[in-house]
Symmetry: C2
Subunit: 311 residues, 2 copies
DNA sequence: GTCCGGCCACAACCAGTGGTTGTGGCCGGG
DNA sequence: CCCGGCCACAACCACTGGTTGTGGCCGGAC
């Protein structure tokens, strides 16, 4: 199945005759006839009944038509996604932290007419470079690691503080706790595979460890959240941190516990970064939406790294 | 943009190298290279950065990737829509009556995982023939016109009674009424363009006219609902019938009135028709959904033609 | 530093897809 | 009954899109 053929099918269905469709597509009637015949051969069904005054859709053809239109519009959207100028708003979200994705879903629900593309870049350096080059329009990050101020032309606001919870298996020493003070975690093994040194995410946990004397192991490759959950569920001595907004599904039989952390609650400070000169109209809408969503949230009793931008 | 090229792009993005993608697609590495180069030329952006150990997606490539996947899955759905055996459930709804479409939307909301194709066939003869031949799985109709019983192998249940309302312009004699008894419509001109003689829809209005002494004009071609609304709005002497569930948008400045009809309220008896032997699993789900939706509705004070199937 | 291996790009060549023109059959209306 | 309009089939041709062959580049090992 090829897109030109599908386009021909739609044109013929709309015109209700091959001749006119051919004129519209600037080919001969014979070409249209051959394309439709080829499409019918590929699909294995008759799409038109040929009459002396044109061509009528068969029932199969009527069923196929909306799918054909959808296919063409998907092609149009695909091409638009990389068109320079008036392309969809491109937003980078930090991997492994699902809260930013949730914010973007909320924005999409509030503004379904705004075209969005969501990416996950590697780290904040890449994100900032992409914002400066115009490759992306905005990025959800914890803002810059200590000692590396943002360039002048990049703006940032803190838009969401996501509390971290402890995730344990049923046999863990803290599995029964309703909540646990941060200081009580000293001495427990906390495993966070997949943290890449040098990223702003790693800097966050470095600060957390230094300030509260935790021991976080980032050893081993990240085999994905399934493997992580498997291990946490089966290993009494291990726990991990997980954003409170992260929605996970785990296999039946894994009796995992989410335990809020308090005194203070460590929160991950998601911020939105963008280029001050970016004229994309949807960017203003995104900023307004996030500002409205963040308003009124309380920061008492929470901890963020000293280098997090203020609210 | 052609689908083979897009498939190649996705394979290369997944494999993170052209060579492996080529093996997967059973072509040479050179062919993949040429396809990707052609795609990049068409789109006007670089999709991969070529390295000595493979090919990495650029940011544009990352933005394009989900659209490419969507495009391929749209192609898959399009092909599936005409695949014999295990194709989406195909349901015919009567044109110009929007209530059946509403029922199908409700069904889709309740079962988003069930693939659906909605068609609008010409009349009940066509629909019954299509059901018997297996071209469609079900049809929303008012069931058969008088004197033409359904074939033995077709089953039917009445699933929705849709009250008709009178639609008038602001200068119509009845424009100010909160409701109007059916008998009061005698002598008023009611215009229903587009009724095709011989259809079950025409039979419905024939009976309505005969029983209550109305005068319904079906003259003139149907130029679509926009033209109908224009005329109704501007012509004090004309009114038309419209299903209570029909959602219309009319241009600003048209002050149209919807007036319920009573004593009795004429209702259009939508029924679901299907083939007794149709094994499509989604058909059972549709019947169950409609039965649940129809339960408990009251038929007191309403009128249906004598030939409507009982509830 | 140098060599080697892996991967991608360019060039030349060839087959087959997909277009064109020419023509015939069919159906409906005047 | 003939004419006009529309679609299908046939023959032909160009160019797209594949193949093989080869070269350049980069990174790791020695």
């Amino acid at each position: 199945m090829d897109l030109d053929t599908v386009r021909t099918f739609v044109a013929a269905a709309d015109a209700r005759q091959f001749q006119e469709a051919a004129a519209e597509l600037a080919v001969t009637q014979q070409a249209v006839s051959k394309r439709i015949a080829a499409l019918e051969r590929n699909l294995g069904v008759r799409l038109f009944t040929r009459t002396a005054r044109g061509a009528e859709l068969t029932i199969d053809g009527q069923a196929f038509l909306p799918h054909a239109r959808e296919l063409l519009s998907a092609a149009e959207r695909a091409a638009a996604s990389v068109r320079t100028g008036r392309r969809p708003l491109r937003v980078d979200v930090i991997a492994s932290r699902v809260a930013a994705t949730g914010l973007m879903r909320g924005f999409h629900r509030a503004h379904p007419e705004i075209e969005l593309d969501v990416l996950m870049l590697f780290d904040i350096e890449t994100a900032v470079a992409a914002i400066r080059s115009g490759s992306i329009d905005a990025s959800f990050r914890a803002v810059v690691a200590p000692g590396r101020p943002l360039p002048e032309d990049i703006a940032a606001v803190r838009v969401l503080d996501e509390p971290l919870q402890l995730l344990t298996g049923p046999a863990h020493a803290l599995a029964g706790a309703r909540s646990v003070p941060l200081a009580r975690l000293a001495g427990h093994r906390i495993w966070m595979p997949g943290i890449v040194p040098g990223t702003e995410w790693a800097a966050y946990y470095d600060d957390l460890v230094a300030e509260f004397g935790l021991s976080i192991e980032a050893t081993g490759p990240n085999f994905g959240s399934d493997a992580l959950l498997d291990t946490i569920a089966d290993t009494p001595a291990l726990a991990t941190f997980m954003g409170e907004r992260t929605r996970l599904v785990w296999p039946a039989g894994h009796d995992l516990r989410r335990i809020p952390v308090t005194d203070p609650a460590p929160v991950y400070p998601h911020s939105l970064l963008w280029h001050r000169d970016n004229p994309h109209p949807a960017l203003a809408a995104l900023r307004a939406h996030l500002a409205a969503a963040a308003a009124g949230r309380d920061t008492a009793g929470t901890w963020v790294p000293g280098w997090a931008i203020p609210r």
